[in-house]
Symmetry: C2
Subunit: 471 residues, 2 copies
């Protein structure tokens, strides 16, 4: 059956109400757009259920009609995971936006899939607690999508990825049944870890409708510095010292190469150079604690003194105010935006074993320069997690389209170097459809076989987000 | 084929060498024994492979011959998960005992499945780091078994369960293929989370042969206290205050009811009463940090002053030395042993949402006393994790066998009360064979359906540990 079939549309309207079955192009447009403009959705129907039961009924109707379903949260993904084909129905979770419970004693928050990440951060803050998941899109991304893509972001080093922050899930399965896994227990060894099947599966094994999330004591104090380091080896040495010195209170350890810092300073509104001289690499380190009796500023100062003496750090600035802290973070978070005026950018989201990172960057820089002389690596990322956004700006003055036309060739080279060193070609953005072919090329056959077995076990008729992750 | 078939035995001997295929009763005995004496293994063959490749070849041979395989680590499990039936082969992992790598900068340790937990703790300590998994059997249990059963123990509140401490796995699948998942990356979103299938699956979906484990900065300082609290509500209040006050440095928060503390003092060699008066409940709290500049003793003292004033604590002792700390921990860890002279004990390993615990304990105490007047709840456990070892000592002077004969009836009542409150009937010990029937009785049909689908997807011929977890 096609989604345009009148009987099918009537059934959907009967479930969610006519106002929430969208078929007009103007209504559909936001659900067909894609963050980076690389894809254009093609569904002719989008459904906006208002409850888990409605999600279940919609999926059951789609399964029966053999119409594939593309679940969509805030539509901020970077790999085309929420982009629809013609003949598919977009199932938008935005109306499932209730916080069902917040238990301060248990440090848990139970939220529906369509809750905006920033709203959950705010709800935790209102309770004097912290929900640590934090990323660029937090003002519009939804927690269901964060979990379906196992989002990372800025606080992974201390608090883990979305997976680590999730104590339980409620999920609509491919046949429309509802799996109730919201107990929120820290310890439960009664059989297989079902929730982990759905986290990071990008909606291909089930549709997350609600989650129990972990909260933490809210840091009452932080100390932030931006430091010039000579190379990545020094940065890694500094990371180890920071972890030990601070009682594992390092909440962020971000790295930027000289070019990425330079474009941030050049293009971001109001940005100023934080350091006196250019540096090959800079580190943004932040310590945070909820301990009221143990200030972190002296810890950071001691750390920096030692690092200067050891030659690990050549210059640096400690934030003296919340405004200065925000200015330092703005430089780091603004890099993707600041890259745009520099022309085309071929982007990678890779992770590597920490020890392999310095040599990888050297090898990759040489390899891409051999392919495109004058290419400008704009390398930044979450060094503490081994995660680099290895973005490549076109040579100054080169033709943007001609440069971007070489995306696949250049990415293949970078990904080969990553995999040879035991790394991952998608650290935090997922596979979606952007990296399906690269996954098939680079993932061992046995891994792909296991993934196909899981897909077949949970979604034998391929109703859920077909063509994403496994195809 | 039966395992005694000469051709089959020859094939096994060809793989692992004749010395490592055990068929003599005396040689087999340790692999057929069971920790609590509730089960007796019945396999006539045990194989001791010396490498992952040998494990793979043994499993392939067993799969071909349709002989089921029971993987066994240190054989310290408490639910009969490593107990064999006649016609099965025990596959003992103890010879896979190499530490393959320890990377201090990355804070990772790569170890084979047969490594003794205490040896891994020691290796981390030698590198100035901490591997935090810690439990009663650590001197003989093996890391492969710890992961297969998702072991918990004493440090879960701070560091998580075995699952949380695992960055990667190497696994032999049911058909003898080897899954290589030892990359050890913190972030890797390239498809489904395969490692989580095998952790906690008790060897029913694959046999873990090696793992990458997370290490942490070693705490350089700790502060430990045993406190008298009037009830569990006060204990939970104290837990929240301790987490916030200490910057989330609470590494243990254990609870003991008055009877459990009393039997520990009465029966453990050299034990002395830590408090002046009997108390309904006691809490053992420990704070730990690797921060050299921020002592925890004053934090604990401030916390206790506040708690006294708020009426949460009526008496307490802070450990003044490592010996005193050891004496306090000995009371807590010795409870299972100290229960033995008091006669039969019907044991439960349950977890509940934290807020439900006080009411659950009251309801369960009343319910079991209604069944067996004079029954003596010996309740202790990891309150910070919502995990109680709700053990029930027989009434003083009652007949032990008659009491133990009512195990299933009493357990069913306790488990009903747990499940009604959203809890788990196995917080950390797993299902094995002991709780298979209770799992089937109490787990929702949809959960069981999903588990059977996974079993069928990964082990369609039921070669791996049949009858455990799912049957």
């Amino acid at each position: 059956m096609t989604p345009q079939d009148p009987a099918f549309l009537e059934r959907l309207k009967g479930i969610v109400g006519p106002a929430h079955v969208l078929t007009e192009p103007a209504d559909l447009a936001p659900f067909l757009a894609e963050e980076r403009g690389r894809y254009q959705g093609a569904a002719t129907v989008a459904v906006r259920p208002g409850s888990t039961e409605e999600v279940a009924a919609v999926v059951a109707a789609c399964a029966e009609a053999q119409v594939p379903v593309v679940p969509q949260g805030g539509n901020t993904g970077l790999v085309g995971g929420a982009v629809s084909e013609a003949g598919e129905v977009v199932l938008a979770l935005g109306r499932l936006n209730r916080i069902r419970a917040l238990d301060p004693a248990a440090h848990t928050l139970t939220a529906e899939a369509g809750c905006i990440l920033a709203d959950l951060q705010g709800a935790a803050e209102d309770a004097g607690l912290l929900f640590p998941l934090s990323l660029g899109a937090e003002g519009s991304c939804q927690i269901g999508g964060n979990l379906a893509s196992n989002a990372g972001g800025l606080n992974v080093l201390r608090y883990g990825t979305a997976r680590d922050l999730c104590l339980g899930l409620e999920v609509v399965l491919a046949d429309g049944r509802i799996w109730h896994g919201l107990s929120g227990l820290t310890k439960d060894n009664t059989g297989y870890a079902l929730k982990h099947l759905f986290i990071g599966a990008e909606g291909t094994l089930g549709i997350i409708t609600a989650a129990v999330l972990k909260l933490f004591p809210r840091p009452t104090e932080s100390a932030t510095a931006l430091l010039a380091v000579p190379d990545l080896t020094a940065a890694l040495d500094l990371l180890g010292r920071a972890r030990a010195r601070s009682g594992d209170s390092v909440s962020a350890f971000e790295v930027m190469n000289g070019f990425s810092l330079e474009v941030a300073v050049r293009h971001l509104p109001g940005a100023r150079a934080p350091l006196e001289e250019p540096t090959p690499w800079a580190v943004l380190v932040e310590l945070a604690t909820s301990r009221p009796d143990a200030p972190l500023r002296p810890v950071l100062e001691t750390l920096l003194e030692e690092a200067f003496e050891a030659g690990l750090v050549s210059d640096g600035v400690i934030a003296e105010s919340l405004d200065q802290r925000a200015a330092l973070w703005n430089l780091r978070e603004g890099i993707p935006e600041a890259q745009k005026p520099e022309g085309g950018s071929i982007k990678h989201d890779v992770s590597l074993p920490l020890a392999a990172i310095p040599e990888f960057v050297a090898a990759a820089d040489a390899a891409v320069d051999a392919l495109v002389p004058g290419i400008r690596p704009c390398t930044f990322g979450h060094l503490g997690d081994g995660n680099l956004h290895y973005n490549l700006s076109q040579p100054a003055g080169a033709d943007k389209d001609a440069f971007l036309a070489r995306w696949e060739e250049i990415s293949a080279r970078v990904h080969d170097l990553v995999v040879e060193r035991g790394g991952s070609i998608s650290a935090e953005h997922g596979i979606g459809q952007l990296k399906v072919a690269e996954l098939e090329r680079l993932k061992p056959a046995l891994d792909m076989d296991l993934m196909h077995r899981l897909k077949k076990a949970l979604d034998p008729d391929r109703v859920l987000n077909p063509g994403k992750v496994v195809r």
